[in-house]
Amino acid sequence: MKAYDIVIIGGGPAGLAAAAAAKRSGIDSILILERDRELGGILNQCIHNGFGLHTFKEELTGPEYASRFIDQVEELGIEYKLNTMVMDISPNKVVTAMNREEGLYEIQAKAIVLAMGCRERSRGALNIPGYRPAGIYSAGTAQRLVNMEGFMPGRTCVILGSGDIGLIMARRMTFEGAKVKVVAELMPYSGGLKRNIVQCLDDYGIPLKLSHTVVDIKGKERLEGITLAQVDNKGKPIPGTEEFYECDTLLLSVGLIPENELSNGMGVAMNPITSGPIVNESLETNIEGVFACGNVLHVHDLVDFVSEEAAAAGRNAAAYVKDGAAANVKEVITLKGVDGVRYTVPSTINVDRMADQLIVRFRVGGVYKNCYVSTYFDDERVLRRKRPVVAPGEMEEVKLSKEQLLKYPDLKTITIKIEEA
């Protein structure tokens, strides 16, 4: 059986950044396994600009951003396998992979970084009634068809869901000659970035209908139209508000789900809110030496933060390979999100193992205006940051320093919450 110090599952932005950081931390035996035909993951089809402001201080397109990391991986001489599917990972870190050339084979890893990314929620997950014709695509599938293969999925288009991919695709379809009639969003707020509403919808006069959903799908062979209706505050369609839109294409941008089938298979404990692994300060799962980062851990809005998080996972995996498991694990601090904060990543902190600074990322459950993001150490409020608005579509963060935590030796729980200003 082949053996590597670190095996990284996925060669997208998370896997690439984790690999580069692990290598720079002194580990030479690293293997990236990628199922697609090239490195870079979903960034290859995200041809719009807006990536990298945080990481590179310049505005790049997805493929450009990916190429920066691919170049690093190449320059660092990190080994990778393309067109290779990981079929299974055992709890003792034997990775079973498959490709055309090598068939089915096993690799023993000392540490594993899970970086499989996420997939899109389908029409069925929303249980939209109606026929099941051709012409209904997830926004990402349409994005791949148009941006990488040059095919138009349709001519007149309605988009359900105002997640970033949906907004971006509204502009893309418009540029390529399609008519985008409307973007409908079930929630009373958009799930995407504000800038994308401005530059993808407003710029082209595409209406955004909040609190609306698709209630019927017409067309037996190819889509002929959809019916939109307004929804009440419980998300139930309001009778009498139905409006028919003739269209041959419906794009769905209704949420992303971390792709954790492999993690589940090996017994990684999951957070039901994020649908990703529960991790500690080292981004390590409940299985020692198995780390997670990027969209498989929790869905991000910005790839810059994926890279940052993944680099930390890579460094931590390297430290695990060099130093072994944390000796003498003293009581860990539990992190909790309450009062509007849906979850936190990580879920626990072992102060001994944390870096000088730890970024805790989280999402809120609704739109809060003029609020405070407050951090409590047990019952004491230690941090408070004023925010004009926080929304579920935009990931938030709180920075904790080791120095500060060391001042609270008996600390049991850190709570992050939204408070009224």
Binding site: I47, N49, T61, S67, N147, R195, V198, Q199, D203
Partner: protein, 118 residues
């Protein structure tokens, strides 16, 4: 006169307020960084955008390559730029930064490749 905008210079999406005197910008407020000020001033006088799209590639590992305007172009020229990309086909290999069309649609801005295609 005051114009309300959402800054698109970065993902923060700051709410901007641009105070105008006729067609002159008096002040920009609400921005968190200098880029926001620049955006606010430009957006009310000469709004511009980066345009990203695709062109065909022949003889490469992919059939399409992604492209962008190297700098921002006037918003009113977006569709002229997009139309100028119709039927454009370039031979592989393509490197990031290769000029696909120089001075696209009379904007003075080049269209450059944003992906390597071997």
């Amino acid at each position: 006169m005051e114009i309300k905008l959402t800054c698109i210079a970065c993902p923060m999406g700051c709410p901007l307020s641009v105070e105008m005197d006729g067609d002159k910008v008096v002040s920009v407020t609400g921005n968190t960084c200098p880029r926001g000020k620049v955006y606010g001033e430009k957006e009310v006088t000469n709004p511009t955008r980066i345009v990203t799209s695709t062109v065909k590639v022949s003889g490469g590992e992919s059939v399409m390559v992604s492209v962008k305007t190297k700098n921002d172009i006037p918003k009113g020229k977006i569709f002229d730029v997009v139309k100028a990309l119709k039927d454009v086909e370039i031979p592989a290999p393509v490197k990031i930064g290769d000029i696909v069309i120089a001075d696209v649609a009379g904007t003075g801005v080049d269209i450059v490749a944003t992906k390597n295609v071997d």
